[in-house]
Every structure is written in C-alpha cells, then in structure tokens.
C-alpha cells in the first residue's frame, strides 16, 4: 500500500480546530439529548407503572413507536418530514429562524429515541421493588407522588445505574448519526479532514481514539455514581 502517513496533519490548523469543535459538538449533543431522554424517559417509565390505564397505555404506545423505528430514520423524519407537517409558520421558523436547526433537530431525534429506552429501564426498576415498600409508604400516609419521589424512584435508579451507564455511552456513539443531517460532530469533522487532506486514516484514528476517551470517561464517572449511591448493608444485591 502506498500511503503517505502524516500524523502531523492532526495538530495543524485548521484541522486541529475541526477535531476540537467536533468533540465539543458531540459532547454537547449527547449531554443535552441525555437530559431530554432521562427526564422524559423517567416520566414515561413512571407512567407505565401507574394504576391509571390511560397513563400506562400512552407510555406503552410511545415506547413501541420509538423503539420500532431505526434511529437513522428518526433523524430523517425529524429533519425532513416533521417541518412539512407542522403549521406553515412553525415549519418556517424551524428552517429559517431557529439558530443551528440541524443541531437542535438532532437533540430532539436522539433525546426522544433514547427516552423510550430509559423508560423501559425505569419501568423495570420500579417493578422489581417488592410491593411491601409501596404498602409501607401508603400505611405512613404518603401520597402516590410522595411514594414515587421518596421510595420507588430512589430505589429504582440505584438498581438501574449499570444499564443507564450503557444507555449513556450509547447516546455518545449514536450521536454520530447526526452527521447525516449535517451536524458537524466528531465523525463529520473527521470526514471533513479526510476530504480536505486525503489523510483519512489519521483523521478516523483520531476520531476513534476520541470516542474511546469519551466512553472511558463515562465509565469512570458512572462507577463513581454507583459507588456513591450504593446502599450500605445490601451486599450481593446489585445496587438495589
């Protein structure tokens, strides 16, 4: 193979700048989408465990719809189709006036999709809690909201820290699909370096290493979270 290796290119402007803005965009996209996914996923997960038939059906339908369509298709739907379906002024605002429409569309696509996965974990975490805990709360006069707030959710979240860690890592990896709608995140920037310099191996090696650094950092942080929230005296029982 006749390939001129040139690692130096990665540290030269503007390509170093490309990589840096790519990493920043990837982190911003994943973190904001995670907040959306976590909040919405928790609400949906709770809804699925409520006695109200209506609430649990709405959440169940959401989960089925979002889980049944590939994430890549969601990016296209949110970016190309949804603006056309909205009232005309809204669509125009989305395309013209919203600053950075690609970025925010990617946040929505990634956040709403990941929410269905978080919802399933939260539901499973709540349902794994013995019924006696709810009864103890009821017997103490706590309202349903208070039982969730003080008893069920704290126990459920602790139990699902490991699976949430993996969802959290996945959102960083999935954020690379945002390049398909034109978000200049890390993978897109690597491609850009490739097309300007023809040094594709270096560019994608750099992107690979940067993704690994991000996911390793997430692992380390989540280990800390797990250790901090571990319940004293409950050995051999994973977190819960």
């Amino acid at each position: 193979m006749n390939y001129n290796w040139n690692w130096g290119i990665l540290f030269r402007e503007p390509y170093l700048g490309f990589l840096i803005t790519g990493v920043i965009t990837t982190i911003q996209l994943a973190l904001i989408a995670w907040v959306v996914a976590f909040v919405l996923g928790s609400v949906l997960g709770v809804m699925r465990t409520l006695p109200s038939r209506i609430a649990s059906s709405i959440a169940a339908v959401y989960v089925e719809v979002f889980r049944g369509i590939p994430l890549l298709v969601w990016f296209f739907l949110w970016f190309f189709v949804v603006p056309e379906l909205l009232p005309r002024e809204w669509g125009r605002w989305l395309k013209r006036d919203l600053p950075d429409p690609e970025f925010w569309t990617a946040v929505v696509a990634l956040g709403l999709y990941t929410a269905c996965r978080v919802a399933e974990q939260v539901r499973a975490g709540i349902q794994a809690i013995p019924r006696g805990q709810t009864m103890a709360g009821q017997a103490g006069g706590l309202s349903q909201a208070q039982i969730y707030r003080y008893i069920l959710l704290p126990l459920a979240y602790r139990r699902i820290v490991p699976v949430l860690t993996s969802e959290f890592m996945t959102i960083f990896k999935n954020s690379s699909l945002a390049l398909t709608i034109g978000v200049l995140e890390l993978t897109a920037q690597a491609r850009q370096i490739e097309s300007f310099t023809f040094q594709g191996f270096e560019a994608f090696t750099a992107a690979t290493v940067l993704y690994l650094v991000i996911t390793l950092t997430v692992t380390v942080i989540m280990r800390q979270v797990e250790a901090r929230t571990r319940i004293p005296g409950l050995l051999g029982q994973k977190g819960g």
Partner: protein, 242 residues
C-alpha cells in the same frame, strides 16, 4: 375505635373475607389468629385500606374507610402499621426512615421530627443505630425501628401483621417486649400473631379466623380456656404443643 361490619372481599371468584364483623375499642388489644391462608393479613389490611374490599363497612374513629382519595391518605397517616417483613426503606438511614412521614405527611419541621425520632429510638433501644441503614441491622432491630416509625405519627391505633414470624427465635422477645409495653400504656392494637404467650399476657379479646370467616371472637380467657369450635380447639392444640 375500629368497627368492621360484614366485610366481604373477593379475589376474582375466591371469597377471602366472608362477612367479617368485629371491633376494637379504644385502648383495647385484639389478637387475630388462625391457620395460614385464613385471611388474617387481608383482614388487617382492609382496616387502613391497603386492601380494598367489596362489601360491608369499616370505620376508624368514626371515619369510613374508602377505597381511595385524600380522606383515605389522611386516615392512614393516623393508623400505624407494622409488617411481617419490616418494610423499612433500605436506602435511608434509621433516622430518615422514622423522619420521612413526619416531615412529608405531617409537615413537622426537621428538627422537631428528629427530636421525636430520637426519643422513640431510645424507647425501642435503637438510638445507637440511628445512622445505620436497615441492611446493617438484625431482623429484631429492624422491626423495632419499624414500630418506632409507626409511633412517630402519633397513631390513634396500631396494626401488626405477624410482626415476629420472620424473626429468628432469639429476637422475638425484644419485639414482643416493645409491643407489650405499648399495650400496657393503653394503645389501641390489632395484632395478627401466633404468639399465644403474648396473647395471654396482653390481649383483651381474641379473634379466630378460618377460611375467610371470623369463627370466634371472644374474651381472651374464654377463648383460651373453652374454645367453642372444633376448629379453634384443633388450632390451639397444634400451636400450644408445638
């Protein structure tokens, strides 16, 4: 204080409570016993609406026990309950377990709730463990904390569902002692238990259940000395010669 009139409950086609009628007067201690599966837990859980029931009527302190709503929540806060499997909140310290409902339901200031908690933990002999989590305690210790948690709400009555049957034998007495003391102070109590020694010492009345029915409901002495039904005699002979 607690009035139950012809209470009926069904699980599908299974009639688990059959026209159960009984009462607990203020300051009275009523022991509920009977074979496993006879409906004792179900009966006691209808008193604070943890188990819905389909027929009959229950009132506590003159207030009807409904199936849901704010009134039920408010009533529950006034009735203490102790479970067979303790049901302490595992992620909270002993102190927080006892403080939780005081602060979020009764809206007591934290300092007041803590003072009350400390007094109660001292009373049940658990003050040295206030900062521990339930998983770090023995069963007997957990159950004493659970009693303190119920008492912290200044209940008008206490319900106990087999409070000692999940305990190792050597821990049973530490829990029964706390309950005995409570009874002697005049607490209104409904206690599902097979501890006949406890029943003999502190109960005023004994309710004997079999197959969803209240078969006997009599004063303690009458029940132990001359049980009327064969079923109660059989039950007593089994449990006393154990």
């Amino acid at each position: 204080m607690i009035e139950m009139h012809e209470v009926d409950k069904w699980y599908g086609t299974h009639n688990v409570l059959k026209r159960c009628t009984t009462h607990v007067a203020k300051g009275e201690v009523v022991v509920v016993c009977g074979p496993s599966g006879s409906g004792k837990s179900t009966l006691i859980k209808t008193v604070n609406g943890l188990e819905p029931f389909q027929g009959g009527r229950i009132t506590v302190d003159g207030q009807a026990v409904t199936t849901s709503g704010r009134d039920l929540t408010r009533l529950r806060a006034r009735i203490g309950m102790v479970f067979q499997s303790f049901e302490l909140y595992p992620h909270m310290t002993v102190l927080d377990n006892v403080c939780l409902a005081q602060t979020v339901v009764l809206k007591r200031p934290r300092s007041e709730a803590e003072a009350k908690t400390e007094a109660l933990l001292r009373r049940v002999g658990m003050i040295d463990h206030a900062r521990k989590h339930p998983g770090q305690l023995s069963g007997g210790q957990q159950q004493r904390v659970a009693i303190a948690r119920a008492l912290a709400m200044d209940p008008i009555a206490m319900l106990f569902d087999e409070p000692t049957s999940a305990l190792d034998p050597e821990m049973i007495n530490e829990v029964l002692d706390v309950m005995t003391e409570l009874a002697l102070e005049g607490m209104t109590m409904m206690v599902v238990t097979h501890e006949m020694g406890f029943a003999r010492r502190v109960a005023h009345r004994v309710v004997f259940m079999d197959d969803g029915q209240i078969v006997e409901d009599r004063s303690k002495d009458a029940f132990f000395d001359h049980p009327e039904t064969d079923r109660a005699q059989l039950f007593l002979s089994k449990i006393l010669h154990h």
